[in-house]
């Protein structure tokens, strides 16, 4: 295929995005279990066939050479999906959820993909953002943009309580600290009546400068689901978080984070402050999780402790591993698969944790780099010596 199509052209990237968008629309549109299964199986076969003909290296080269256009195509793809389901709540809610989860996973990717700080409390930090929004939006008159910001700051601040034990322990032990925190968080919320206890709390819808995100837009006869508002907001957040993580990776800071993960002794011998970079990654990652959480709470209108279990944290971690540790594009794709598949395939629902566990084991055994393995750092896209 390389002989037919110039890998330097923008065509493979655009064609890939068009294909993915078309598939997403068909997939979200499918009602019967047979249709969903058929589409999923079809997608796997087509992807394997394309890979056989070298399409994925072609598309990767094309994306790398036209990163701006490629990112624009992704945004347009999301907008096309919104247009295709403009009046249906469920697909748009799912789309917004995927985008917010991408923000959380970008944070986790900073933490353990780069700095090597394993965090099994992703859902707890997401939950801190949710509860911050519930309390601040429900009981104060704080502008909602500040509420969202406060959600992120709160997650980062509470996360800093964990910094000392995380810095003082290595590998598995640091992971245990975060597991303990994740369980602690849920128990704390459940027994705390001021935060609604096990029943949870209502959260008012979001309002930005007079724009009520919970109001449906109507143009004449056409009524647009209010979830479209949240999709747009989540899309903007995901895009900014993506750029942030990308730039961080493509800088000396990204190099420091990688060095901290790979060899702490060598780091020390070359003046790299291990604690400083672990704290930076951990705090920034938790901030992103809290940010996404506060928007999620206002979108769903309700928070309850059973949405932030250890199992949910595991799902977040598995998204990063499945996508390819350290690759922001990988986790974007993995988040879409992991969140949408069980929603559409009802019979999977009960077995979803089992399914993820199996998938993660298979990936670690046969493709340790994930679906889209990370490449060597490219500081300036398109730069050649």
């Amino acid at each position: 295929m390389k002989r037919l199509i110039d890998p330097a052209s923008v065509f493979p990237a655009l064609a890939s995005m068009a294909g993915i968008t078309l598939f997403a629309v068909l997939f979200l549109h499918a009602e019967s279990q047979e249709a969903v299964l058929g589409l999923s199986a079809g997608a796997v076969v087509i992807l394997l066939l394309l890979a056989r003909f070298g399409w994925n290296t072609l598309a990767a080269a094309s994306f790398a050479g036209h990163s701006r256009t490629g990112q624009g195509a992704v945004v347009i793809g999301v907008l096309i999906i919104v247009a295709a389901f403009y009046d249906q709540h469920f697909p748009l809610l799912m789309l917004a959820t995927v985008l917010l989860y991408i923000v959380v996973c970008l944070g986790l990717n900073l933490q353990f993909g780069y700095a090597g700080v394993v965090n099994f409390a992703g859902a707890a930090f997401f939950g801190i953002g949710c509860y911050t929004a519930a309390v601040l939006a429900g009981h104060t008159a704080l502008p909602h943009l500040l509420v969202v910001l406060a959600g992120g700051v709160m997650a980062a601040v509470i996360g800093s309580l964990l910094i000392l034990p995380v810095l003082r322990t290595y590998g598995h032990y640091a992971a245990l600290v975060t597991i303990a925190f994740s369980i602690l968080f849920r128990v704390f919320i459940e027994v705390n009546d001021a935060l609604g206890g096990p029943q949870g709390m209502r959260v008012p819808g979001m309002e930005i400068f007079g724009w009520q995100l919970n109001d449906s837009l109507a143009f004449g006869d056409i009524e647009i689901s209010f979830y479209a508002n949240y999709v747009l907001l989540a899309l903007a957040m995901a895009a900014v978080a993506f750029m942030l993580v990308r730039r961080l990776e493509r800088s000396w800071i990204g190099l420091n984070l990688d060095a901290v993960r790979l060899d702490e002794t060598a780091c020390a011998a070359f003046g790299i402050d291990v604690a400083r970079w672990k704290i930076t990654a951990f705090t920034l990652g938790n901030f992103l999780a809290g940010l996404a959480g506060s928007v999620y709470a206002m979108m769903t209108g309700f928070v309850a402790p059973n949405a932030f279990t250890f199992g949910d944290s595991l799902i977040l971690v598995s998204i990063v591993i499945l996508g390819g540790i350290g690759n922001p594009w990988g986790l974007t794709v993995a988040a879409a698969i992991v969140l949408m598949l069980p929603e559409k395939l009802q019979f999977i629902q009960e077995y979803r944790l089992l399914l993820y566990a199996g998938l993660v084991i298979l990936i670690l055994l046969f493709r340790p780099g994930g679906l889209m393995p990370r490449q060597v750092r490219n500081y300036l896209p398109g730069w050649k010596p």
């Binding site: 942030l244 961080l248 011998a269 010596p385």
Partner: protein, 258 residues
């Protein structure tokens, strides 16, 4: 004698009951190449680990340009201009060769959030400047390797990895370079080439002093100006290689008593 760059005064390092360095006193002159030899377990690598801050000395001082290295962290020691290579390679293999060199260049780079995230034009300038510098340094060791800087360090062979490690220690232009058995796992011919390259680099960096731990005695003979022999954490002999090799105590330490 010329002026002293580094002076250890009764330096000791104990691990529980094990005395790895026992009241060691020695000095390194500015600009010299000092060989550090001795049988396995005599405390050579421990000495490196103590003066680079990896271990905290149990007692004693290490005077270096007005600092006491025994009381400083590894990071501070690096910033004061002391760099090293490791006996067992400590490269970050999944990262590119250039990345590994830049780890060694830490003190010359700007690590601010604002600089790295927002001022991408300034970042680009610094990147290009550092890339040219890295390429020039690696070219002294190997021209083909200098064209492969953006490949993963894990994709090159052992000799090139050793070269990268030495370049990583050299790129920040240190005052004192510590080489921990650079010839390990290499043939005589490769070792000879590597030593020639190091001597070439040293000519470009006139102030550079080197301490080298080595078991290849012809390397020591050829490149060092002075040797210190350790045994059981103590200095047993000191002088030019020929004198040291002829010393009875040294022969006993290596071969055992007859």
């Amino acid at each position: 004698m010329s002026n002293t760059l580094l002076a250890c005064d009764s330096l000791s390092m104990r691990f529980g009951g094990l005395v790895a360095l026992n009241q060691l006193s020695l000095s390194v002159n500015a600009g010299e190449i000092l060989g550090l030899i001795g049988p396995n377990g005599s405390g050579k690598t421990t000495f490196f680990n103590v003066i680079t801050g990896i271990y905290q000395a149990s007692e004693g001082r290490v005077d270096y340009q007005g600092h006491d290295l025994a009381r400083m962290s590894a990071q501070e020691i690096y910033r004061a201009g002391v760099t090293r290579t490791f006996q067992r390679s400590r490269l970050c293999l999944p990262l590119s060769i250039f990345d590994n060199l830049m780890i060694g260049n830490h003190r010359r780079l700007d690590h601010g959030l604002w600089f790295n995230l927002i001022r991408r034009d300034a970042f680009r300038r610094q990147f290009e400047e550092q890339y040219a510098k890295a390429r020039e340094l690696v070219r002294t060791f190997s021209a083909p390797l200098a064209e492969r800087l953006l490949e993963a360090a894990g994709s090159v062979n052992m000799i090139d990895r050793r070269r990268i490690e030495i370049c990583r220690a050299l790129i920040s232009e240190p005052t004192l370079l510590l080489l921990d058995e650079p010839s390990a796992g290499m043939t005589h011919e490769e070792t000879r080439e590597l030593m020639d390259d190091i001597l070439v680099v040293r000519e470009h960096m006139p102030g550079l002093s080197i301490i080298i731990i080595e078991h290849e005695m012809n390397v020591i003979e050829r490149i060092t100006e002075r040797c210190i022999v350790l045994n059981f954490g103590q200095k047993i002999c000191e002088g030019p290689y020929a004198a040291v090799a002829a010393d009875r105590q040294v022969q006993e330490a290596y071969l055992g008593t007859a």
